[in-house]
Symmetry: T
Subunit: 155 residues, 12 copies
């Protein structure tokens, strides 16, 4: 089984690979936690937030796929298994059970800010090693920051 090769140096591949693996975990966990809130939400604002969370989940799933496929394309094996997410994700925790609309807004604001903070570091880190991966991270950060605004506008 020949490994997938790319034109990146070993060093650049390592830096970029770590950035992409980190981004993958953030986005997969965002998709899971977004669905969790989508299902367990209660309160007068149920419907608009329920739909908004699905927009976020759709974005997270789509960009997670792009990030993982970018990792393989540079020869780095992505890891998106449940245990890896559970162990390594830095996305803030969400309690089990029903959760009121106000709390969802607060929690999602924190979660998105936490992810954006890490994404911006990854954008810096990959600029020289791989502008192609950086461009992907820049694009998805724009999506994340748009959702961050639309969620926190409701505080």
């Amino acid at each position: 089984m020949a490994p997938i090769t790319s034109l990146l140096t070993a060093e650049n591949k390592k830096i970029t690979g770590e950035a992409l693996q980190g981004a993958l975990l953030d986005l997969l966990d965002l998709s899971l936690v977004g669905k969790q809130a989508h299902w367990n939400l209660t309160g007068r604002f149920f419907r608009p937030i329920h739909l908004q969370l699905d927009d976020i989940v759709k974005m997270a799933r789509k960009t997670a796929d792009l990030v993982a496929e970018r990792a393989v394309a540079i020869g780095v094996s992505p890891d998106g298994r449940a245990t890896t997410i559970a162990n390594d994700s830095q996305v803030p925790h969400l309690d089990a059970g029903p959760i009121e609309d106000g709390k969802v807004i607060a929690a999602m604001t924190d979660i998105l800010e936490s992810i954006i903070r890490r994404m911006r570091k990854r954008i810096d880190a990959t600029e020289r090693p791989d502008p192609v991966s950086q461009d992907l991270l820049i694009g998805l950060t724009r999506d994340l920051e748009k959702h961050h605004w639309m969620i926190q506008a409701q505080r």
Copy 2:
């Protein structure tokens, strides 16, 4: 925050809720492990299996959503967070890193069979307590068994 009510008795709600929560974990883990294989796959059969895995993931995501929303609808809070999946899922493990096509076929055959085995028990368990939930489980088991056939036909 008023709990969601349903017309099921406490006993029926408990049995049905456990069946649905179990199904949810199976399907969410299937969607994660399916993507993991989709990305890390190698071998001459890369393309057909790569596409087939995405069909399975799409089915798993869609039915997971139906199952979770069914749980809330009967007043049971579904839990689909990464840590819960990591701790409670009974779906067979997949190793990290690149994985050859033959091994993917073998692993997915096991994974689907393992999930189907539990789904059939849930179909039996929910027959009397809630035929509405049972009908949902029957429908998605047909999808799972179809994919099980199409994967194992390749052994």
Copy 3:
């Protein structure tokens, strides 16, 4: 004019026919009362509830059609005329005139619960007489219970 024949015994046809005619009235009245609220709604939550009511009406109209056509298919003439609905429907009443969003949520919760209660009885009643009709009733009860959850989550 030859009557439509089916393979059900007279007894089974009678039981199933009553269940379907009852379901038809529930669903037609739900479509009328849903539109009534859709038009007369007021309050800060106007837009999300206005749209949600249309989802419910769409579901009610579509399933009413399936139920009525199922009745004819087993040789029972469905009756969905305004006077029959007005006389026989057991769906809770809605006052005329503008109605505030909170009251709509409360009223629709009651209306859906009332319909679901009768539908579950019809599921039991048709199990032996006609599993084909029962399967239709099970499917639409899942839709009704989903909307019941999404409405009452807003209390």
Copy 4:
């Protein structure tokens, strides 16, 4: 709960409101009676008439919605509840039970003519009070008269 305001004078609003409420009842009853015939129809001409009735019902439902929303827009609360239709509608009656194709053609010809007769009066009545509502009534009368022709062409 502030009432919906409009720029019509009280007198014009009253006249227009009555025209719209009358139109609403005609159209809702047409949609119910059209479905009733759609389901209970028998005879050699079953299929073309079955489909034609659905075209009529679709038109009736869509224009009923426009009429009711126009009423609210001028500050008049529309009433489309089953009991109101049953009590106030002037649409000719349809017998329960199976109904032969020739009778359906005759009945629908009468029903559509009866509705058109009232609509033309409403067009006259609303010309000065509210040309915006009148324009809506003119448009839907064209639809009604088109269906009236296509039904009576089959006598």
Copy 5:
């Protein structure tokens, strides 16, 4: 060549497999005989019946595929070859050559009733052995009975 495995016991697999193979032959023959009538039809009612027969053929082809794939999924090899249909199908015979509209209505009424009669037995037979296959048979019987009604309404 490893056989396709399933979780059904040998006994349940045998019963279910026979029901599915029987259903497959009924549906494939229905699709052939439906097309035969679609092409050879004559009479004043040519167009509506010509189109209606195509609706039936489309349904028969689609459900035949689901039934055959369900058979493989439980480890039973479906047989839909022309000679098997010719030898084993119990669908009533249709004469060669042009056929008048009234005769088509009569023949299709008999054909559909004959198939429905066997399908209802298969629904009973598979209830305990395999509720997943039974659910498929229930669903397609609803379609068959709907077409049976719409055909016989034209007698």
Copy 6:
């Protein structure tokens, strides 16, 4: 460069041209102010109002185009430049900066009412001079009054 000619008399063209130019400014300003509120909105009701404003902007842009093209068609040159809107529009002003949801509802209610008031005068003014332009103004006033209702229902 030959001027565009039409069959209207000079007098009728002047009256109609002024009505259309006035309508154009109202609609273009509505599209700008609607977007301004769409972007700067804050508050718990962010999402439903954010989406509703886009519906209004879409309607305003589409009808502005119809009105301007109608003006050219009767030989009157429409003026929709920023300075003309800034100088001549009578649409109520919106403050710069973030704006809370309640204030947006109040402001949009005033803005729509102000535009409708002028549109109704234009409908009267164009009745004799050009019923074709009047018909366009009647149609778009119906849209404006529908949005006026749906906005003010939220007060």
Copy 7:
């Protein structure tokens, strides 16, 4: 063969019928002459005018159909046969053979102006006899005048 009836008086039906028959001939001839120019066009401006003529033909065909069906709906038999168009149409003549782009622009400007002139008279004539037919004529005159502008803008 019972004639199609309508609620118009004999006098109103006669006036409206003549207006509609006249409009029908104008629109059918426009569709024929538009295609003639579409095929025989030459010159540097071939492509934009070739496409524009098809837009006009599409509009003419669609509105001719609406006008003819409106005539039947009020009980007047429309006549759109080739000999009737050839004998009664007042649309200016187009020479046979290839025709240069500049001449097409000039000819279509005349043709559209000629049709619009007659349509405006029909709008006046039908106002009292049948506002429903008038509304249709008003709407299609807007389309004709739009195309008249877009053609003559190219002189």
Copy 8:
């Protein structure tokens, strides 16, 4: 204005041009007479024939366009003006006024047979002069003969 050139000899161009011009008149007249019957049709079979005539008109319009554009492409100017159709078309005549369904079937059978007879001669005539035009005529004759069958099946 340079004439459109083609690679056909003068003789072949003349023969092919006459065949195409003849086909054009047949198809344009078919589209007019088809619409005439579509509008003036009466009788119990109104709806299926009304729709079938529109299928024929759609086919006639589309193939007329292909035939005319083929004529220009070989350097022959097509003539589809109303007077040319009225003078030169050999399509059987249709009386003015309402026409019963049985008569429409008889008339359309004759009309289609008459056109097909001429088309088959054109296929023979163009075989050597221009197989490209012949291929177009063959294709549209298949469409005409299909409609001829479906119409005459109703006698």
Copy 9:
């Protein structure tokens, strides 16, 4: 019941009719045998061949319909009943039960070659009797030969 007439001589009709009836049986049997292989296929190449067979079946069903409708259009009654296919089809036989991918490739290569061989004879036979039918046979032979290539490329 009047027979469908056409403009072919008795002799030409006989020759063409036999060619079309032969083509019909080939294509119907291809659709049945294609589905049989689609369901019973096993082996590492399951997925690409499974999908490819469905492409072939879709083509076979569509062209069978065109061929049968062409037969009726020339006055020849097509026969596509199961017994006729079983008795008269010359398509090579396929064994019952699971079938490995390599064997499917070999069998389908033979089946397609066998059908193409007969189709080419029918193209020759119909050239003079009916070029319209010949054109249809030429077109579908191109499809068959394309699939023949794509199947045998896998040997």
Copy 10:
């Protein structure tokens, strides 16, 4: 009302905010001036330029929305009101009234060049402060430069 927060430093936010606000005014004014020319255009090249201007307006509206939403997302309130555009926009002026095609080409070339010049400065200015906003500006500059080429190619 809590302000929208972002992770940019105050300095970076100020620089980026000014770039985005400038881009917003350019794009909104482009959309207004593009429509102005779209409506008032005359000359032989009317149709191709009329359509091209609509492509430009569509692009301007879409990117203006992205730019404004990007501004809010970094905590800067965008201002797109008519008076702000009128006062601050640096887009070259367009005269009122009809405007010939050649002048439109010249004016749009200047307008696009003027906007592109400022956009390129904004790309430089935002590179370090916010690569996410820069990426958006780069993307829309590509669109602007494409339209600049396609307009100036017509000089």
Copy 11:
């Protein structure tokens, strides 16, 4: 590696193969030269010709694919590599650099005429050897001649 077989004799395969390979080079070169002109075009007629060239390229790409796949289907390996096109294509040359609209019209007229001339020879050459390939060549020549007309109409 077994060669692809077909039912053509060696001689017929050789003749047909040469015709198809020649057609392939013509069409591929047309697609390249069409794009070259599409990009480098200048002049007042930029937009309509720019779009028209893309229609031609789309047609050339699609038919090139059909021709190449037809070649493989008869067992002849098509060669569409850049060097083969550069060496063997007989399509007239296009100069590098910007090219004015008038010159593009002249050049494309020559190019299309040159290709059509060769295609007509191929139609003759393949008539007896392979009517299936001939039919493909006839169809695409109709497309080429249509574009030849529409281009030269602009001289």
Copy 12:
């Protein structure tokens, strides 16, 4: 004929123009060589690779168009003629004739790697001269590297 102008300095335009012309040749040759392999492919893996090559060709054609249009937009004339590709392209050569699946995988891996290597240099070269062109090159390199991975995963 005025040259297309842009805001780039002569030096930056030269560097960027060379990068874009190089990219254009790479992408056009990739589209030709991809089709060559798509047609001449043989072997058990025919179908998945046949389809995958079409995905690559589609991407190559689309990005070639973007690259060429970007070149014109900065005032550089792109050259995509067959002879230029044949002379200047650096894409590795593909032998004529049938080619086995394994060899196609190997050849496409080399071809894609060769192109990517040059694209990465162009990304570096254009960073300062024109970030807008660089952004386009970055985006298409991501596509190329994705296909490179998916091809080489099959080695």
